[in-house]
Symmetry: C2
Subunit: 142 residues, 2 copies
């Protein structure tokens, strides 16, 4: 089940070099913008747009996959709080934003969307090292 | 299990006149600010701050309760998309924001947090009528 007009189904987002792990029903990727370190997106594999469009067994498994990522990010980044967000206003294909919020975050009380900033893009060995670190941590947490 | 320093555990938020339904492990309330019509919060009853602090059975049931609210709001408000957000940056006691985004929403592509606006507070018969409508709709959707 795919939607030809959907950027996720087309494979144009998230970027393949940001891939972290195949979790089962979803894939985890490092988010393009790493201003908030560790921001991860958990992308449902087939095309669906709302939790209530999923079979209960799928919904439960997807949320356990999101939970695994949240737990891992909390450990790796020593997060003060995790933000979990399923929005889809621009790209309705189900993708969860899982964002570790750190004690040193200058805007720790605000949703990330309220924090004006220049995006921090990672690439090359720097990106690879972040991705591999999270791959290993998710593997260990399973 | 409660936290004496927590506004939810103290019973000072959400407002009791905004109560919609007891869902089992959580209670649903109309959000104070109704600039986005139907914005609902699903508040876990006992004090906990992260999904991964819950027992798997609790997490699964909580998410099914969030799902029921999302499905109901989508029907009642003919929503284009539902936003699901568990943040807790200011108030870590688990509470899900479930926000119907409507086709006529002037900022439909943006997270609600990016939309500058004067809060719309409901009270009296107006509030009562919204709450009762949602109570009935959740009852029917069960």
């Amino acid at each position: 089940m795919m939607d030809k007009t959907c950027r996720v189904c087309q494979g144009s987002w998230p970027r393949k070099d940001h891939f972290i792990a195949d979790l089962g029903l979803s894939n985890a990727y490092l988010h393009d913008d790493q201003y908030f370190p560790g921001w991860t997106v958990v992308v449902f594999k087939r095309h669906a747009t709302e939790l209530f469009h999923l079979a209960p067994t799928e919904r439960i498994q997807l949320m356990e996959e999101v939970n695994l990522v949240a737990k891992t990010l909390a450990q790796v980044y020593e997060a003060k709080k995790i933000n979990y967000e399923l929005l889809g206003n621009q790209l309705p294909h189900i993708h969860w934003h899982v964002i570790p919020r750190l004690a040193g975050d200058p805007s720790s009380l605000e949703p990330v969307w309220r924090v004006e900033h220049e995006p921090i893009l990672r690439s090359g060995p720097d990106l690879q090292s972040m991705v591999q670190g999270l791959q290993q941590a998710i593997q260990n947490a399973r």
